[in-house]
Structures are given as C-alpha cells and as structure tokens.
C-alpha cells in the first residue's frame, strides 16, 4: 500500500498510529514473542510509580458483557528497576517508547518527571492522573480541573523542554472538556482518552462484590461509544491538541471510528487479552480502511467526522 500511514504527536513521529495501551502490554517483553515491537507505532508502558508496588489483592478482574473490570492497582517494580531493566531492553528492540507514570501526590509526579527527563530513547510521557490523591481524601486527580492541572504542572516544571507530555483523562467526570482544557493550560502537549470507567460486578453466588477492591475499571468494546463521544467532544473544543484515543478498539473499523472522532493515534488495550496479535491485525485493517476511503495521508482522516460543523 502506498498511503502515508505515519502520525505525529506533539512533534514526535510514529510510523504507524497504533500503540499499545498502558497496563495492557506490560513492558513489551511478552508481546515481542508474537511480533516485533518495531511494528507498533509505540509501546506505552504500564504506569510506573516511584516505589515498587504490590497492587491489589485478587480477584482483580471480572469479565462483563463486551468488556471487563480490573483493579490491578498499579502493580509494578518502581521507577528505579524500570529504568534499569525495561527501558534498556525496549531501546535494544528499537521500539518507540511512551512511558506512563502515576503518582499519589503532586510531588510524586514531579519526582517521576525528574527521573525521566534525561533518559534517552523515550518518545513521550503519558501522565496517568486517574489515581487517588492521598493528599486530597483519595479523590482522583483527573476528576477535578484543579488537581488534574496541578499534577500536569508538576510534570511540566520538572520534565524540561524536550519530552512531550500526554495527559491521560478519566471519563468519570461531568465535563471532560473542562478537564482537558485545564491540563492543556497546565502544559500538556497532548491528551490520552479514555481511561477506564468506574464499575462493579457482584458475584451472585457469594453475594459479594467480585473484586477484592469492590470497584474496578471498565474497559473493552462496551465502553467504545463513551470513548468516541469523549474524543469527539475534546477534538471539537481543542482542535489543535493531539489525541491518543483508546477504549474498546478491537478491529481496524473500531480504530477508524476513533480516528474519525479525532484521535491522532489509537491505543489497543483489552483487545490484546483476547488476541496477542490484535495490535497487528488492527494496524493492517486500519491501513486498508483509510486507503479504501480514499485518504492518501492518514492524518487527513483524523477528525474527519467533524467536517459538517466546519462547513
């Protein structure tokens, strides 16, 4: 095929617009057994925190109609081991790397940004602000324009001028556009939409919540209409800000839907659990659709569903 299938996010170039979603591909080692990581636009690593983290007790997941709940609780090795083991390995693979970070306080985000600012081989930082803020009664950063922008400002001040910042937003808010605006004002170069929706499953045998933590994050095709709506609204309000779209994409058609809504790149999460090769088949299918619809540049399709408003 002959179309230009590359995309760019805040000045960074990616040869294809299909990324992995944070937390759904680990740090790439396992998937590399199924395909070379270089065939991804980028690998977005599992959100890393300052310290090692056990995550939540099991059960951590429940399948739901066309989706799943998870409450992994950000299990991970902490930034030191991550920088020691995962980043060099990914660099050796030649993968394009987007590092996702998560914190429990504004200071955590600042510390993580400082640790990452001079690490070579990273394309961008994705800032997961769908985390409880321990300094504010556990309220999730992404659920309030002020705390959301505090976290992003902390990263902005500490990251230096080089690395683009992508703020990842939660759909569990009354007005996602106002949150998007506040984090862009605070220095985010791009937005990732959407994180999971808060949900719960009750086991009707034990008659107790299925997850040990009671609530969990809903992902998968079930949430795709919410993702498309969020991306469309934010693209309409902030036409110049690049968006990494995600939420229930499991085919090239689905990815194209997010692109038409306004996504400059599309991350694949839950679909990888059903099919380790999902990102590859979606890449192939999306390229076919974009070409079949008559686009010679992928970027011309981004936000194309808005065209009536613009006319």
């Amino acid at each position: 095929m002959s179309i230009n299938f590359s995309t760019s996010i805040a000045g960074r170039f990616f040869p294809t617009p299909i990324f992995t979603a944070s937390g759904c591909a680990g740090s790439g080692k396992e998937l590399s057994q199924f395909f070379p990581l270089t065939s991804l636009g980028a690998i977005v690593t599992k959100s890393i925190m300052i310290k090692p983290r056990s995550g939540r007790a099991t059960p951590r997941m429940a399948e739901t109609p066309s989706g799943m709940l998870n409450s992994i609780g950000l299990q991970g090795p902490g930034i030191d081991l991550f920088l020691e083991n995962d980043i060099p390995w990914l660099r050796d693979q030649g993968a394009r790397i987007i590092v996702s970070i998560a914190g429990e306080s504004v200071e955590d985000y600042a510390v993580l940004a400082r640790r990452l600012r001079n690490v070579p081989g990273i394309s961008a930082l994705e800032v997961n602000i769908s985390c409880p803020n321990v300094e504010n009664r556990g309220q999730v950063f992404a659920c309030d324009p002020t705390t959301a922008s505090d976290a992003i400002s902390a990263v902005r001040r500490n990251i230096g001028g080089e690395l683009p910042i992508i703020a990842k937003l939660s759909p569990d808010v009354t007005d996602i556009v106002s949150i998007a605006k506040s984090v862009v004002d605070a220095g985010a170069d791009g937005l990732a939409l959407i994180n999971t929706l808060l949900g719960m499953v009750i086991d009707t045998n034990s008659m107790l919540p299925k997850l040990s933590q009671k609530t969990g994050g809903l992902s998968g095709p079930a949430v795709r209409p919410v993702a498309v709506r969020a991306i469309y609204q934010v693209r309409a309000a902030l036409p110049e800000v690049p968006i990494v779209g995600m939420g229930g994409v499991s085919s090239g058609r689905d990815a194209f839907e997010l692109v038409l809504a306004g996504a400059n790149a599309v991350s694949i999460g839950t679909a990888t659990f059903g099919d380790p090769l999902a990102a590859m088949s979606i890449t192939r299918e999306l390229e076919e659709i974009v070409e079949a619809r008559g686009f010679s540049n992928f970027s011309d399709a981004v936000g194309y569903a808005h065209r009536t408003e613009q006319a």
């Binding site: 057994q33 059960p59 040990s212």
Partner: protein
C-alpha cells in the same frame, strides 16, 4: 518470560465426547503438540465472532501427542460451567477453534526415580495422567488421589488409571471411594508409600490444604494453581499470587507465566482478599 513455544493457531476440533460431568475434547494442533508438557495450559477464544465474551478461557492440557501419521493432537477435559465453557463444550467436531498453546510452566520431572503422589480435584485430574505416564517412564512409583464433590465429577479414564500404582478416590457425598476430602487421606498415603514429591492440581483451597500437609511431612509439593486469568500471556497482571522468590522476597507473581505449576511451599496461601503483610511493594 512466557512459554517460548507459545503460538496462536486455529485448531480443528476432532472429537467432543461426554465423560461424566465433563467433555473430553480433542483438537488437531499440528507441530505444537510436540511442545506441550504436562502442566502447560492453553488459552481458548470462546463465543464465536460476535461474542460478548472478550477474554480467553484457560484449560489445562490433558494430553498432547504426535500421531504416527504426523497429526498433532491436543486433548482437554472441559467442565461446562458458565458461558465460556458451555460454549466450548457445545462445539461440534469440525469446528475451528482459536487456541494459544502451550502456555505456562510444566511439572518438574525428577532425574532420579522417586515416589510420587499425584493429587487432583475435579477437572484438576486432567493434567495428572500425562504426568503419571512420564513419571512411570522415569521409573517412579506413582500413586494417585482424586477427589470431587460427587462421583460424576471424578475424571479418571481407564487408560489413565493403568499408569498408576494405586488410585484412591474421595467424594464429599461418598458416592464413590472414601467419603471426605483428598486431604483426609494424604498423610497416610505419604507415609505408606514413602512419598518424596506431591504433584497437585485442583481448587485453591485444596492446594492450600495439601501444602499444609506437605510442609508437615517435609515433602516437595508442586501444584498447578488456578487464578482467574484475563490474558494468559503475562501482560495484564490479573492472575497473581503472593509467592516467595529465590531471594526470599514475596512478590505478587503472575501464575500464567511463572505458573500455573509452582512450588506450593513458596505460595502464601490466603483467603482474606488482602495482600499479606511483607509482600514486596505493599
């Protein structure tokens, strides 16, 4: 790292027969069969193309073999329980099924002949028969205990029984063998048969009970655990258990890549739905 032989294939279902409460299902998987070891599992896509089920289901490999005509066979024992397993059990010979295999760790096979005790609960007996054959070939003594709630849930095919020195059966309702649980008969069998190693597969509560007994008798315990798995390939972190590493540190450990076969004595069994104290990163 994940099982280095793991691959995603379309496998034809060759046969599907009722066996007590279970379905014995045979798939044609070609070369892959040669790489499957006792204890490995497979991950199967369920529900067809427009299914509302987005996750694969894991099944222990009952048997894998290369036939003389070059056909590679993979056999499973499936309990039709919820939507996924019922769908699988309802498929007819000729259907093409999406399978990732082999996955996970396998049972460690001793280099010297030892006395082995194999303990299975419900469909947990499935992977033990292939293991029994391998152990017999290595000159081991192999005793087996199978338990279930009721007789129909004991999976013990004739040809499988042949490869063990003794078979003890327990059922909760007494409909077959001794009334009671597998753990009730273990201590005696360990002593009588001078057991060196226990291999087990079944519900987590059973594995925990066996671990207590194996620790008391200072016997090695390799168990195949069953935590619910979303991906089966190590990328989602849903399938973890607190397991002590070689460095003494207890980590939340993925049972799909560092299991399902694990050293039972290193697992911190717990039913509390809380991360035990002392786990790395708590």
């Amino acid at each position: 790292m994940i099982n280095s032989k793991a691959a995603s294939i379309k496998a034809e279902l060759i046969s599907n027969k009722k066996a007590g409460s279970y379905n014995h299902m045979v798939f044609s998987v070609g070369e892959l069969a040669a790489h499957c070891k006792p204890g490995n599992f497979v991950a199967i896509k369920v529900g067809g193309p427009t299914s509302a089920m987005v996750l694969r289901r894991a099944f222990a490999i009952y048997r894998a073999s290369m036939r003389s005509d070059g056909m590679g066979l993979l056999e499973l024992v499936v309990a039709p329980y919820g939507n996924g397993s019922k769908w699988l059990a309802s498929q007819e010979a000729g259907s093409v099924i999406d399978v990732i295999a082999p996955l996970g760790t396998s049972f460690g096979i001793p280099v010297e002949p030892v006395n082995a005790l194999l303990v299975g609960g419900g469909y947990g007996s499935a992977p033990l028969f292939a293991l029994a054959e391998t152990l017999k070939q290595r000159g081991c003594r192999v005793d087996m205990v199978l338990g279930a709630s009721t007789a129909a849930k004991i999976y013990a095919p004739l040809e499988g029984k042949r490869s063990v020195n003794s078979l003890t059966i327990t059922t909760d309702d007494g409909s077959a063998g001794t009334m009671g649980r597998v753990s009730d008969v273990l201590s005696q069998l360990i002593q009588e048969n001078e057991v060196d190693v226990i291999y087990s597969c079944g519900p987590m509560a059973m594995l925990q009970a066996i671990t207590e007994i194996s620790t008391a008798h200072d016997v090695v315990h390799q168990c195949s655990v069953e935590e619910s798995m979303a991906c089966g390939i190590g990328v989602c972190m849903t399938c973890v258990l607190p397991v002590q590493g070689d460095d003494g540190v207890v980590r939340m450990t993925r049972t799909c890549v560092e299991g399902p076969v694990m050293d039972g004595n290193k697992v911190l069994w717990s039913t509390s739905r809380e991360i035990p104290d002392g786990v790395w990163g708590k």
